[in-house]
């Protein structure tokens, strides 16, 4: 009897521990996501990136921490003035994204993020890199669309890519508008799989849409 009680107590403790560990993961993720949401400056994003990197180092099976680490570095590249440093941040972001892709090779959000990364590369040297990375971004975003046609970020990023392409090559605000409108609708209907899954992009979509009018 005593043995079985001990056994049950141990089992409860184990499950409780797993739940607690999971609860710990949820709590820290939540905290880091809040910091991400409110981040403004380069330094803010560095702290957020560090937080997600710590989680990613500890959680070798989870793709979300490394996804957000990558996302943070991409955001840092937009706020950095030194071109060499920008590319360094994007190289780091790509490292994290590659790790995430190994864990989840069929996740739409990862291909959407890859498209975002390629688009970020362009800003370092638009004349030279525009053609190459615009094409690579489109490829990645199409893949993301195939994996999840309801992913609003895919439409936002496709719209943003089109918006920044000169109109003579089939781009411009008028060409981008329908994509951004689709993105807007998808954001409204967005139902994230979990509270921690990627949900960013709505304010940016609406801001860009306003520029199309």
């Amino acid at each position: 009897m005593k043995k079985s009680i001990l056994f049950i107590v141990a089992a409860i403790l184990m499950t409780a521990n797993t739940f607690a560990q999971q609860g710990h993961y949820q709590a820290v993720m939540g905290k880091n996501l809040e910091a991400l949401r409110t981040a403004q400056t380069l330094e803010d994003y560095q702290l957020v990136a560090n937080g997600f990197e710590r989680m990613a180092a500890a959680e070798q099976q989870q793709w979300l921490p490394t996804y957000y680490a990558s996302f943070s570095y991409i955001n840092m590249s937009f706020r950095e003035k030194d071109d060499d440093k920008r590319d360094q941040y994007l190289d780091k972001a790509q490292q994290h994204l590659d790790k995430a892709l190994k864990l989840q090779p069929k996740e739409s959000e990862l291909y959407a993020l890859q498209g975002f990364l390629h688009m970020a590369r362009i800003q370092v040297s638009p004349m030279m890199r525009g053609m190459k990375y615009s094409g690579l971004a489109k490829e990645a975003l199409e893949k993301a669309k195939n994996l999840n046609p309801d992913n609003p970020r895919v439409y936002y990023l496709l719209g943003s890519n089109t918006f920044h392409t000169p109109s003579m090559f089939g781009g411009g605000s008028q060409a981008a508008k329908p994509l951004l409108e689709q993105a807007k609708l998808k954001f409204e209907k967005q139902r994230a799989a979990t509270a921690l899954a990627p949900s960013w992009g709505e304010p940016q979509t609406l801001a860009l849409l306003a520029k199309c009018n």
């Binding site: 403790l13 184990m14 409780a16 521990n17 607690a20 710990h24 820290v28 330094e43 560095q46 702290l47 990136a49 560090n50 937080g51 990197e53 710590r54 989680m55 180092a57 500890a58 071109d83 060499d84 590319d87 360094q88 941040y89 780091k92 362009i122 370092v124 638009p126 004349m127 030279m128 890199r129 525009g130 053609m131 190459k132 990375y133 615009s134 094409g135 690579l136 489109k138 920044h164 392409t165 000169p166 003579m168 090559f169 089939g170 781009g171």
Partner: protein, 708 residues
């Protein structure tokens, strides 16, 4: 397994993160391995966080650009204090690189000064790589040749390599005073290294410089292109599969309509006509392996009537057939070993008729190369390999229709081995030492050429570099076919360079001294006697090259200025004494400006070139090469208008050389006999027409657009 029912004790870990100079590292990530617990270092480098972990733990400090560090600590209730001293990581961008003698233009390394697009869009270039390279420091303006003359060296002293393999005939076929052009479209290449001296032990047989062209990898998409030009038309189709691509191009050029419309200084009987085609194949053999094959064939023909000094007119006709192919394979064998293998083959026939004389030339060459790159330890890279080059040259000469045909020629096999080590002694200092050994079967000589370079980073944006090397080259075919026992010609280079790159502005200053030995000399009265040929010539070339590029100061504008000062003398070939060669001018200046006008969707480019007078030999005066031509000026303009035709990306391109209509005299040609008054008559050597105008339309079907 922590027992959750027990109260969790918070232990503090605090400390500092500094770099090797004692300066704080801000925003570094400090954390316990395998836990979420951690924080970022503050503005003074300090950090502090609490954790429920106890006992022996590993504390990690990481920051982008620095080597990650771990320390074994013991977490206790009394708190733990840790100090980190992070070492800067040798990133490719900040790393010191050997710049002496090498001018890189490419897209792969961010620190390069020029991009492949720069080569393509340089005004006056009309898509000829060599005339774009001519605007870089070290290159001399020799308008009637159109070839590259580098730092007081003759055009044969510069060799062109595609993907590491020699291209025997990089220029199209031409006759004297008609400038040659490069055979290869600049669009084929993603990287260009113009080495004006002191180049790597991997290459040889070029006394002055090596032009290294790296061809593109796999194209991104399947697309078709059509070009319509004032001088011809062309079409290309690129097909892309998952890991393979195949591109086919066909071009037809005929200058007849153009020369009919615009007055030429040349009397064309048949304006140049060329038919050419090429095949480009790429295949990814693995994630890290790439097989590249390039093949091209061209057939061209031209005929003109030349007026010689003394008012004699002679008929000149040239027919040329050229085939060139190379295949290269590159693969990463392990993380530290790279394999490179290449095979090249070229076949060229020239049939020339000058008045009554008929000259037929056949030049075949083949090359094989095998090279390994190995990272011995982190800062030490080794490169070593071997190559063989076979060549068969034959010439047939007939003075008149009825005279006997005189044949001459030779067969050559050159075997070479090389080894080079790159040692990054510190993040600020890198040294390169190389050695190259060559053996020529024809002349039965072996040479051993050492190469040394050093670079020191003076500050985050600038560095000093120095290079020394010995360079050997077999004499030219027209000399070897008379005497095939001549020895290697030799040049020794000493180069000092300073380069500063910051904020999209680049300054480059280079000083050099070249000493020539064993140059071939012959008695001009006995050009067909082998005994008259000796390796007894010598010479020197010294000077300073300056380069300034600014992509920032002017919005949408980009310009570069390159200036070369050259002092050279040599005694070679038919020279009776040491003299300044006719291709050398003391001052050379090129100013290249490009401006993108967004409202017009047009990129405008302009090149101004200046060269001081060149020497020429006047037989009417005592001395040798005593004459000096007037200074040379050329202002050329080009514009690329980006648009679309039925949704397909289109470029309309127009260019014009010598806008100001300057009279350009490259030299003088004198009659071989004096006239009745005892004076040798002379004739100006100038460009084929006052100006060259070009209009082209390029349409791309199925390609991608360009971002702002």
């Amino acid at each position: 397994m922590p027992l959750l029912l027990m109260a969790q004790q918070q232990n503090t870990i605090r400390g500092m993160v500094l770099d090797t100079k004692g300066q704080p590292v801000i925003g570094a990530n400090v954390f316990l391995k395998n836990s979420y617990d951690g924080t970022s270092s503050g503005p003074d480098g300090s950090f502090s966080f609490s954790t429920t972990a106890t006992g022996p733990q590993t504390l990690v400090a990481a920051y982008l650009g620095y080597e990650q560090q771990e320390q074994q600590i013991v977490v206790s209730a009394t708190g733990t204090s840790v100090r980190f001293k992070l070492k800067e990581k040798l990133s490719q961008l900040q790393a010191v690189t050997i710049t002496a003698g090498a001018f890189e233009a490419g897209d792969e390394k961010r620190s390069t000064v020029l991009s492949s697009l720069d080569i393509v869009t340089t005004a006056g270039a009309t898509a000829d790589i060599f005339s774009a390279i001519n605007t870089l420091p070290g290159a001399q303006r020799v308008g009637e040749e159109g070839k590259l003359f580098v730092r007081g060296g003759d055009s044969y002293e510069t060799k062109t390599f595609i993907d590491g393999l020699l291209v025997q005939k990089p220029y199209n076929a031409s006759v004297p005073d008609l400038p040659a052009r490069g055979r290869f479209s600049p669009f084929l290449f993603s990287g260009t290294t113009f080495s004006s001296g002191g180049y790597s032990a991997e290459y040889g047989q070029a006394l002055s410089s090596a032009l290294l062209l790296k061809s593109n990898g796999l194209p991104e998409k399947t697309e078709t292109g059509v070009s319509l030009m004032s001088v011809g038309l062309g079409a290309s189709h690129t097909q892309r599969w998952a890991k393979t691509s195949l591109a086919l191009t066909a071009d037809y050029t005929n200058l007849a309509p153009y020369t009919g419309l615009i007055k030429q200084h040349i009397d064309w009987e048949q304006a140049p006509e060329t038919k050419s085609g090429s095949l480009i194949f790429r295949h990814k053999t693995s994630d890290t392996g790439l097989l590249k094959v390039y093949s091209s064939y061209s057939a061209s023909h031209l005929a003109l009537t030349q007026t010689t000094p003394g008012q004699l007119r002679q008929y000149v006709e040239l027919g040329n057939n050229n085939f060139y192919s190379n295949a290269t394979y590159q693969e990463l064998l392990t993380a530290k070993w790279t394999l490179y293998a290449g095979l090249g083959y070229g076949f060229n026939t020239d049939n020339v008729q000058v008045a009554e004389q008929q000259i037929g030339e056949q030049d075949q060459s083949a090359q094989g190369k095998l090279m390994f790159e190995h990272q011995l330890v982190q800062p030490l890279w080794l490169k070593f390999g071997s190559e063989w080059t076979g060549r068969r040259y034959a010439q047939e000469y007939q003075a008149h229709a009825t005279s006997q045909t005189i044949g001459s020629g030779f067969e050559e096999m050159l075997v070479a081995s090389f080894a080079e080590a790159d040692w990054t002694i510190s993040p600020k200092v890198v040294a390169r030492a190389g050695i190259r050994a060559e053996h020529s079967q024809l002349v039965d000589h072996t040479n051993l050429a050492p190469r040394l370079s050093l670079a020191y980073k003076t500050d985050p944006h600038g560095q000093i570099s120095a290079a020394y090397g010995t360079f050997y080259q077999l004499p030219e075919a027209q000399l070897l076919r008379v005497n095939n026992q001549l020895g290697f010609e030799r040049a020794t280079h000493y180069i000092l360079n300073y380069q500063h790159q910051q904020n999209k502005r680049t300054l480059r200053a280079e000083a050099y001294y070249k000493h020539y030995d064993n140059l071939v000399k012959y008695n001009p009265a006995l050009p067909y006697h082998p005994e008259s040929y000796h390796n007894s010539g010598s010479g020197y070339a010294q000077g300073i090259d300056l380069f300034w590029r600014d992509r920032k100061s002017i919005k949408f504008g980009d310009y570069w200025i390159s200036y070369s000062l050259l002092d050279t003398r040599r005694n070679y070939r038919h020279f009776p004494q040491q003299a300044i060669p006719t291709f050398a001018s003391r001052h050379n200046l090129a100013l290249v400006y490009k401006h993108f006008v967004p409202a017009l969707k047009t990129q405008i480019g302009s090149t101004y070139a200046f060269a001081s007078g060149r020497p020429y030999h006047d037989p009417n005066r005592a001395g040798f090469n005593q004459g000096r031509t007037a200074t040379y000026h050329d202002l050329s303009l080009n514009a690329s208008y980006l648009t679309n035709i039925w949704g397909n990306f289109t470029v309309v391109y127009v260019s014009a050389t010598n806008l100001l209509g300057n009279s350009q005299v490259f030299g003088y040609r004198y009659a071989s006999q004096p006239d009745e008054s005892g004076t040798f008559a002379r004739q100006e050597v100038g460009p084929p027409a006052k100006r060259f105008l070009f209009v082209g339309l390029f349409i791309n079907f199925g390609g991608q657009g360009i971002h702002h």
